[in-house]
Symmetry: C2
Subunit: 148 residues, 2 copies
DNA sequence: AATGTGGGTTGTGTTTTCCAACTTGGTGAT
DNA sequence: ATCACCAAGTTGGAAAACACAACCCACATT
């Protein structure tokens, strides 16, 4: 870090410290699709095996995924999302929506069907009033809120 | 990429190719706070100057930010979000919510006030029916939808 | 004349990542 | 019993990315 830096206190940065490295969010994506095995995650993401090992260990250490033994002889494991990991799927949905709109406007690679019967088109709203929410629409307050 | 890999077609992966490298989302965060100057972005993120230059160029090349000359003598630039960049702020909001809940449960570093008067507590909902949406709740369809 | 400012670029290490090949403890087929 | 195969990693060596201080340039200020 440059010695004159004074990074903003920020939950975005703190979350990215846990899941912001290359491949981590794609691992969570695979688990959200129900993929559980090491080799399948390699195959579906393109991560190299050593890096995948290190990402899985870090996600596990931070309570985002869980490793479960499904065979004793030989010892074999599979991976699952924890409740905290399931919550991170919201991030995937919003990233997917942006990519669908801006990079694949005519044919989204994947659609998720919602319980209402329609294809999910995720929108971020304020939990209190239900209307659309977006950073920048109003001014921030708190320890990390400086605007210069 | 390992030669047996066959990465899933996926808008999440495609979006992360544009903004998933270290610092890129924090640059967008700074612009969403109204910070415009190179040195301020360095100061508030902790990115090194050379890497920041490369991130800014890439984000600009992909239409997420815009560089604007605000002085001719000497030549000076400042950075702004494009409409596509503003849409990416949804991702920040959802990352922030996760970090607030899981890493700072008692004192979120930043609060954004919504037009309804309350602090924004972002929720991802289905754009059709308005109810909560989450990847994994139903099964995916499309080219990238395999579940093994 | 000296210092400061904004937006970079350069040089030189250090750290990460990449990828094939290998390992380990087993199973099933010949 | 030997051979191939499987899953879940680990290892070694090369390539790429990153970090950071120092420098640069065209001004403006003191």
């Amino acid at each position: 870090m440059p010695k004159d830096a004074d990074p903003r206190e920020c939950s975005v940065a703190d979350t990215l410290d846990l899941v912001g490295e290359r491949w981590s969010l794609l691992v969570i994506r695979e688990l959200s699709y129900g993929v559980r095995r090491f080799d399948q995650i390699v195959h579906n993401t393109g991560a190299s095996r050593d890096i995948l090992t290190s990402r899985l260990r870090k996600l596990e250490a931070n309570g985002i995924i869980r490793r479960e033994r499904y065979s004793d002889h030989p010892v074999r494991y599979e991976y699952h999302l924890t409740p905290a990991g399931v919550e991170l799927c919201d991030v995937l949905l919003v990233l997917m929506r942006w990519g669908d709109r801006h990079l694949h406007p005519d044919d989204p690679p994947v659609r998720w069907q919602h319980s209402c019967g329609e294809t999910v088109s995720p929108v971020v709203v304020c939990g209190h009033c239900g209307k659309e929410a977006r950073v920048g629409a109003h001014s921030p307050t708190g320890r990390g809120a400086r605007t210069s």
